[in-house]
């Protein structure tokens, strides 16, 4: 029997979980725990990166399940400015063993001085490049 089609979706968003570091970490971990339960139920796997106040996530699974999970993320009060980066049919899962793998930068690597925030750089890339004036 042929396998059902798989879709892979990637987005980024700005986190609205703000406050002291312990509060942010606890909030994100709580979100990931909840996501794992939901994703496992819907047959969705993937990987979530939390870095510099941004989420970037790859979801993969049956198209209708990916739609359902992504739709919930778009209206989740912990995310804002959710932006779709990629969606395509794929032949295999890249994260078959993870209902939601969670990747976070270690504390020692945060707060890089002199660097524009990740969200600003991603948002800038989504805008049209400025045309040079004549």
């Amino acid at each position: 029997m042929p396998e059902a089609p798989l879709h892979q979706l990637t987005y980024f968003s700005r986190s609205l979980i703000r406050g002291p570091r312990w509060f942010v970490e606890t909030g994100v971990e709580r979100m990931v725990t909840s996501a794992r339960d939901g994703n496992a139920y819907f047959g969705v796997t993937g990987s979530l990166l939390f870095s510099d106040g941004c989420f970037a996530q790859i979801l993969e699974g049956p198209p209708e399940s990916v739609d359902h999970i992504y739709g919930a993320i778009v209206i989740d009060h912990r995310h804002t400015e959710v932006t779709l980066l990629h969606r395509a049919q794929v032949t295999e899962r890249r994260f078959p063993d993870w209902s939601m793998q969670y990747l976070a930068e270690p504390e020692s690597l945060r707060d890089r001085p002199g660097q524009t925030g990740l969200f600003e750089r991603l948002s800038g890339a989504m805008r049209e490049p400025d045309r040079e004036s004549c």
Binding site: Q8, S47, S51, A56, I58, L103, E105, L118, M126, P129
Partner: protein
């Protein structure tokens, strides 16, 4: 009265695709930077670095 030309639907779709591609390149560069920094940090476990590499690889395959 001057009327600004409106992009065709096909041109608008191309533009959105380009924008997403640019943003994916920014995200990929960021993940690569984090991987590089983590590789030099003794406090970071190898599986975490490998997981980030897999994330970067998945982004690369998206073109």
């Amino acid at each position: 009265m001057m009327i600004s030309p409106q992009p065709s639907p096909a041109a608008a779709a191309d533009s959105a695709t380009d924008a997403r591609q640019r943003a994916r390149a920014v995200l990929l560069a960021h993940v690569d930077d984090v991987v590089q920094d983590m590789t030099g940090d003794a406090a970071v476990a190898a599986p975490e670095i490998e997981a980030l590499r897999r994330f970067a690889e998945a982004l690369r395959l998206q073109g």
